[in-house]
């Protein structure tokens, strides 16, 4: 649906050059909710703005449904943009227009007849749950309501792609959840491919199926969300994950555990089916040892279970070793080093 081929974007500011995006290559497939995560200044906004031609790449190609963007004339580019919706962190609604006029605006640009516009606006406001606010002005709405208007406006021309630049970053956690649910509904019910950017792992985790992690203009890691979340490769990815999911107890707690003469700790990661099997009790019973869960969680990720437990084993040394050896063939298990957290 969207293809980035070795895309770079360098801004020239005075005598300085800012490499906002560096040699980025990846694909967004039809039907994806593709998330790009990165800290502020990583180049996420620049990357997403390249998709609808608000920025032009200094190098490389962007293809939308196999159409190379850079070959389009300004007029053709505007036609393409009408089929790509965009939602913004600060909503960017027209303050001089009512809610329904905001949603109607892109239809007017496309010269859709009045009766058709009215029907479409009504249907969209129903879809985003704002039918009763049609005549309000944006300043009379809450943040979440404003974003619903932004989404309705972005959907007006029946786009195939929706771009979301930090669409939930200005919202509180409850409203964020509502908007994310709405985006999911847009993806599932309307079949729209979504490319969203965020600095919150929680957003990726709750709605995206695929993710790319960006740092200083580069994509440092990408893949399925479940894989990336359960088996992160890059330090920055781990950092994002630990913000939503602390995989280990704090160093202070671990030190305390040691000080009290606690035995070695092991971190066990269960994925998918494994998380619902009674593996730990089956294997430890077989080796006649006990286990003690001292920390952990089991959560849902992309409609799959994901368990992360920190345990200690009590029993004869060889039995413990044999048990760990057997567990290694079934799940991910590693010794917890008390010097890291």
């Amino acid at each position: 649906m969207i293809t980035f081929e070795n895309v770079s974007k360098t801004f020239v500011v005075g005598s300085k050059q800012v490499e906002a995006v560096k040699k980025v290559t990846f694909d967004v497939e039809e039907g994806d909710i593709f998330g790009i995560i990165g800290f502020s200044g990583a180049g996420k906004s620049t990357l997403i703005r390249l998709v609808n031609g608000l920025e032009r790449p200094t190098e490389g190609k962007i293809l939308i449904k196999k159409t190379p963007l850079h070959e389009l004339k300004p007029k053709q580019l505007r036609e393409v943009r009408r089929k790509i919706g965009m939602v913004f962190q600060n909503f960017n609604l027209f303050s001089s227009r009512t809610v329904e006029q905001n949603v109607e605006y892109p239809l007017k640009l496309s010269k859709v007849p009045k009766a058709e516009r009215n029907a479409k606006v009504k249907q969209l406001l129903q879809f985003v749950g704002l039918a009763d606010k049609a005549k309000s002005y944006p300043e009379q709405l809450s943040g979440g309501q404003k974003q619903r208007v932004g989404i309705a406006r972005a959907l007006a021309t029946d786009p195939e792609i929706l771009l979301c630049d930090e669409a939930t970053s200005a919202l509180d956690p409850n409203t964020t959840r509502d908007i994310l649910n709405l985006l999911q509904k847009v993806n599932r019910e309307l079949g729209i491919t979504i490319l969203l950017i965020t600095h919150e792992m929680q957003v990726i985790q709750s709605v995206c199926n695929r993710v790319a992690v960006m740092e200083t203009g580069e994509v440092i890691e990408q893949g399925e969300v479940f894989e990336t979340f359960t088996n992160p490769q890059h330090a920055t990815t781990k950092e994002f994950i630990s913000a939503t999911d602390q995989s280990l107890p704090s160093p202070q707690l671990l030190d305390e555990w040691r000080a009290k003469g606690g035995t070695d700790l092991y971190r066990i990661i269960f994925k998918g089916e494994r998380a619902s099997d009674p593996i730990l009790s089956t294997v430890t019973r077989k080796h006649q040892i006990d286990f003690n869960i001292i920390y952990g969680s089991i959560r849902e990720l992309q409609q799959q279970f994901f368990g992360n437990l920190v345990v200690s084993f009590e029993g004869k040394n060889d039995a413990v070793m044999a048990c760990i050896h057997e567990l290694k063939s079934i799940v991910d298990i590693e010794e917890v080093n008390t010097n890291e957290s």
């Binding site: 609808n52 608000l54 943009r81 009408r82 303050s95 001089s96 605006y105 640009l109 496309s110």
Partner: protein, 220 residues
Amino acid sequence: MKVNWETFWIRIVEATGETITMVLGTLVFSSIIGMALGILLFTTREGNILENRFISALLNFFINIIRPIPFIILLFVLSPVTREVIGTTIGTAAAIFPMTIAASFVVARVVENNLISIDPGVIEAAEAMGASPRQIIFTVLIPEALGPLILGLTFVTVGLIDFSAVAGTVGGGGLGHVAMTHGYQRFDSSVMFVTVVILIILVQLAQWIGNFLSKKVMRR
């Protein structure tokens, strides 16, 4: 020499009409020219929808040269041009020409300043929706800035009442002319007083209409 108010009030009514004609005429022409220049000034700025360094620098250069010239000087400097264009340098029409030139540049800056205060995100949203530069100008820039624009034009209008009095003293007619010939040169303080009161009323009226209209579009 005192005027005879029994008959002179007709002259005052006429003069008030001339002043209003000068002000409204200038307002219409300078709004059209100033709006166009102001939009051009804004949209040709760096990073804007019609970014163009050359036009931007040229416009700024012109405006910065003409704006600081005191209006009374501009009147004299432009008088040969006025004679060419209007055919005379005396009367209401002859005053509207130099007033329009001077006011257009003021309006241009007022428009530019109001457009700068529009959230760039809103312009970007329109661009992302596939709006052309022309569509952005007419469906985003002007409607989004309309409230402050009306207040800005009100401010200009008040200035025009002042301009018209100056133009009046050098042959433009209107209240300025009456105040000059009957009030000042013939030492009739009653004429001076009446013209000043009418000018104050005109200013108040302009301000009141401006406030009313801008409130209407800003809904505050």
